[in-house]
């Protein structure tokens, strides 16, 4: 396949690994572009989703439908709009990626908490837990598998999308793609794309490992027998 041979030739060229704008440098910059918006989105999405799931009711459906419609906002368009108004402020790249990452995190956290078995919730209340204890000790641990799915989806979205930040002149792996396209060099375009894919697969593996670590053993057993 020509895509892989182009990408391979470029990635294995020694000169691309040294100096300013080299692969390691852009990779580190890219990780920063991905990590910060994800962190912010998680700080917004998880508590909001858990709170909405805990309270339930008709209003929850409205919020969740809004979050789904929210996904229609084109990240590229938002990025460009902010670039025109704010120039190179950090908000320019941060805001579109946060907007992209919040809906999957919020919706999954909501669905995870809303789907906790009512008898389990009743048992928690019956044992005399305060509402805060019910949420933190029972509902969140039970919702963890879905919360992690939401965080994983958001992480994948952000890793896959942060390349377009290069379009408004920022660094990161998108630099190779955008510059390559502009100068008709397919090598860096394919190589940059390949690095992003590898990064995305690493994120998938990271979350697979993470879910083993943090999901309570009892829940894992239950998921297996189902």
């Amino acid at each position: 396949m020509s895509f892989f041979s182009w990408a391979w030739d470029w990635v294995t060229t020694d000169a691309n690994w040294h100096g300013s704008g080299s692969i390691p440098q852009q990779l580190v910059a890219y990780l920063g572009y991905c990590a910060l918006p994800l962190l912010i989105a998680a700080l917004i999405g998880v508590p909001a989703g858990v709170a909405i799931g805990h309270r339930g009711g008709k209003r929850a459906v409205v919020v969740i439908n809004t979050a789904n419609a929210w996904r229609a906002i084109p990240t590229l368009g938002l990025l460009i709009l902010l670039a025109v108004f704010l120039g190179f402020s950090p908000l320019t790249w941060l805001l579109p990626l946060v907007v992209l990452a919040v809906p999957p995190i919020l919706v999954n956290a909501y669905e995870g908490v809303a789907a906790v078995d009512p008898s389990v919730k009743d048992a928690a209340r019956g044992m005399g837990m305060t509402p805060w204890q019910q949420v933190t000790r029972v509902e969140i641990p039970n919702a963890l598998p879905l919360i992690l799915v939401g965080l994983r989806t958001a992480a994948i979205f952000v890793v896959a999308t942060a390349t377009i930040a290069a379009y408004i002149g920022l660094g990161g792996l998108g630099r190779f793609i955008i510059d390559g396209l502009a100068s008709d060099q397919y090598g860096p375009v394919a190589g940059g794309a390949l690095l992003v894919v590898i990064l995305a697969v690493l994120v998938l593996a990271l979350f697979a490992g993470l879910s083993r670590l943090v999901i309570p053993a009892g829940l894992r057993k239950q998921a297996k027998t189902e």
Partner: protein, 209 residues
């Protein structure tokens, strides 16, 4: 905001909206058509599903821009490249819903259909798939909305869509054009979403809402 820009560029706006609609809806439809047989297989033979799901998760992790680029050697800077890439993404969101929808059909219902003398194919087409319609269409909705929004990225490889308004607006520092693009992408996605909801209501008259 320069309102007079809109009427004087009406034909351009209309053409880009139409292109964008095509690039959004066609991939989701293709994704649905491919997902149905795969989903039926995965729902029937359980061993088929976990490896398929892994492949789908990895495919879904491929950045849209990267996938466009990977397809350029084969299909060039054309609509086909964008449509194939977005079909792959749509498939990734629709297939899990097809499987979930089919698996959620109550066993009592399939047993009743069998007892009434339905063969496997007739039972699938007239009982199981109709009952799975709400879940399948929920996935289809996400596929359409995501494709419409992602189609604008195709503009970076020169495939015309509402993304043109973003890029042209940036190059000319002309926010009106970017506003129009943003509003139209969102409006297009919501309009398609409403149509799908209407179709779902027509297909599942027994459902409450």
């Amino acid at each position: 905001m320069m309102w007079s820009w809109i009427p004087s560029n009406w034909s351009l706006i209309w053409q880009l909206t139409w292109e964008n609609a095509k690039l959004g809806v066609l991939p989701a439809l293709y994704g649905l058509v491919i997902s149905l047989p795969l989903g039926v297989i995965a729902a029937r033979w359980r061993w088929f599903y976990p490896p398929t799901l892994t492949v789908i998760n990895i495919l879904y992790a491929v950045p849209s821009l990267a996938l466009f680029i990977a397809l350029i050697p084969a299909f060039g800077l054309t609509d086909t490249t964008v449509i194939i890439a977005l079909t792959v993404f749509s498939l990734c969101v629709i297939l899990p819903n097809v499987v979930a929808g089919l698996r959620a059909v109550p066993a009592a219902v399939t047993q009743a259909a069998t007892a009434m003398g339905y063969g496997p194919l007739r039972r699938l087409v007239t009982v199981e798939l109709p009952l799975a319609v709400p879940v399948i269409l929920a996935g289809f909705r996400v596929g359409v909305v995501a494709s419409i929004s992602l189609a604008s990225v195709g503009q970076l490889i020169g495939v015309s869509s509402l993304g043109y308004l973003f890029i042209d607006g940036l190059q000319r520092s002309f926010p009106t054009e970017i506003y129009v693009g943003l509003v139209l992408v969102i409006a297009l996605a919501l309009a398609c979403d409403l149509i799908i909801v209407a179709v779902r209501r027509a297909l599942t008259p027994w459902a409450a809402s």
